[in-house]
């Protein structure tokens, strides 16, 4: 067993405080994941990554940096990993999904800020997450007002580059996003000392497309009547997607899918026949936020799809690979990323269309719209989404929650009641 204490100390972490997190996570992992029955064997890789979440990948990044490599921390599905990897850098997710980091963030932010943003700042300033120590540059984006202002505070402690994501989807907005990607390219070239060329960009467009295709394959398997993998396990895979080496991750997801293909042929399901099928939509669920999936899947229902940034928004639609020059490729990258339907856009009817389409594709009995507290854009949009789903005769339950455990039993009661009345 590796001892990572020295690595954490060398990274300037508050090891004593970090030990508090290490103390509670094994229990939560046992309850949420290891208690499940009949899990696919090939979840073993993702269980391994989770067991060593602050160990094995950070150790790889330490090694990479010692050889002169640059690590870029990202917070959002809009930041194009293709460009960072093309320049020989590594992109790693920095979103934070634990209540453990929230009080640290509240030292810097108003209490009525969403828990994801508070956790981001807590993880950085309390020095209790190795990924936040390992990123040489943070790449932010203007996906909400809370994040924009939080990036100003983060920027006092770490090099910070913010990409200005347009808030509408007109042609000129797509062109504007392409310009932002060109600026990102210039930044990563300067930081890494490596030029982004047509060859290395094309190679990395293919690499990240392969990753998205593997996730699509995994999700397609959840459309089956016999559901071969739980939503909780799939959520973990989506969360790990932000952190892991993309090629290894793609290989491991495809290996898992091979096993799931066989399960489908054999009619194996991880849920009893007749279990209600749920689509979860709403705000991102950063690791280790497994609260809603655990609540839903212990309430007699199965999560079969997530229309979230830790779900379909992350992998739907590949980058068109027909670009020949770097400029053409960046235009294609911009088109793909501007196709993501986030509540920061106005109008955002594309998201409503996505939820309705996915509800039909995954044959769901109901939709649960989950909004993190104080996330204004998703909260406001929720009422319109609810109306659209009602017009389509798709039952919907709206939930607002945070990272604490305090409302778990209340939510469970509401979810159980919802699951009882849907699909009858």
């Amino acid at each position: 067993m590796a001892d990572y204490h020295q690595m954490w100390k060398d990274l300037g972490m508050d090891v004593d405080n970090h030990d508090v997190l290490c103390n509670v996570l094994p229990g939560a992992i046992g309850d949420v994941f290891l208690s499940q029955e009949n899990r696919p064997e090939k979840m073993d890789y993702f269980d391994f990554v989770l067991a060593e979440v602050h160990g094995v990948r950070p150790a790889e990044l330490v090694d990479f940096r010692e050889k002169g490599g640059k690590v870029f921390g990202t917070f959002c599905a809009y930041v194009p990993d293709e460009v960072i990897f093309a320049a020989g850098g590594i992109a790693t997710g920095l979103c934070a999904g634990s209540q453990f980091w929230v009080p640290g963030g509240e030292k810097y932010l108003p209490a009525n800020t969403c828990p994801l943003i508070k956790a981001m700042l807590g993880a950085r300033f309390d020095r209790t997450c190795p990924f936040y120590r390992l990123a040489d540059v943070y790449i932010g984006e203007t996906t909400c007002d809370g994040k924009k202002k939080a990036y100003e505070i983060l920027g006092t402690d770490v090099p910070m580059h913010v990409m200005d994501l347009p808030q509408m989807k007109r042609d000129k907005d797509v062109k504007k996003w392409a310009e932002e990607i060109r600026e990102l390219k210039a930044l990563v070239e300067k930081e890494t000392g490596n030029e982004v060329t047509p060859e290395n960009l094309a190679e990395n467009i293919k690499k990240i497309n392969a990753k998205r295709s593997a996730l699509k394959r995994l999700y397609d398997l959840r459309k089956e009547k016999n559901i071969p993998i739980s939503g909780t396990d799939t959520l973990l895979i989506s969360q790990i997607a932000y952190y892991d080496d993309p090629e290894r991750f793609t290989q491991m997801v495809n290996t898992l899918c091979d096993e799931l293909d066989q399960r489908v042929k054999d009619g194996v399901s991880v849920f009893p026949a007749g279990t209600k099928r749920i689509l979860v939509t709403g705000t991102p669920m950063a690791i280790p936020n497994w609260k809603m999936h655990n609540l839903i899947e212990t309430s007699g229902a199965a999560v079969v799809c997530e229309e979230t940034c830790t779900g379909t928004r992350y992998f739907e639609n590949n980058v068109d690979e027909s670009g020949k020059t770097v400029d053409e490729m960046i235009d294609k990258i911009a088109e793909r990323y501007m196709g993501i339907n986030c509540a920061c856009f106005t109008p955002n009817t594309g998201r409503f269309d996505d939820v309705v389409r996915l509800a039909k594709e995954y044959d769901v009995d109901g939709v649960i719209d989950v909004t993190l507290k104080f996330c204004q854009t998703y909260d406001i949009e929720g009422a319109t989404l609810e109306k659209r789903l009602q017009e389509e005769n798709i039952p919907v339950l709206r939930i607002e929650t945070d990272y604490t455990d305090a409302d778990a039993q209340q939510l469970k009661t509401r979810i159980e009641a919802f699951c009882e009345v849907i699909g009858e």
């Binding site: 067993m1 590796a2 001892d3 990572y4 204490h5 030990d19 997190l21 290490c22 103390n23 509670v24 996570l25 094994p26 229990g27 939560a28 992992i29 046992g30 309850d31 949420v32 290891l34 208690s35 499940q36 073993d44 269980d47 391994f48 989770l50 067991a51 060593e52 979440v53 602050h54 160990g55 634990s98 209540q99 453990f100 280790p288 936020n289 497994w290 609260k291 655990n294 609540l295 212990t298 990272y403 455990d405 778990a408 039993q409 469970k412």
Partner: protein, 59 residues
């Protein structure tokens, strides 16, 4: 034979790390297998921990 990768419980280690969850009745077989394969491990320990998917404590 049941075997499940798991984070190492804090009662057994002060650091991150992986363990293999096994059934008590398989200990002798697995110990022998590990010796045959020359696997390095710290020890085989028992804990009176129970997984409870309805505890709803997420850290």
């Amino acid at each position: 034979m049941y075997a499940q990768i798991s984070p190492t419980p804090r009662e057994l280690s002060v650091c991150c790390g992986i363990s293999l969850l096994i059934h008590q009745e398989d200990i002798d077989t697995i110990r022998k297998l590990a010796e045959e394969q020359e696997l390095e491990y710290i020890g085989i320990e028992g804990l009176d921990n129970e997984f409870n998917n309805r505890r709803h404590r997420y850290g």
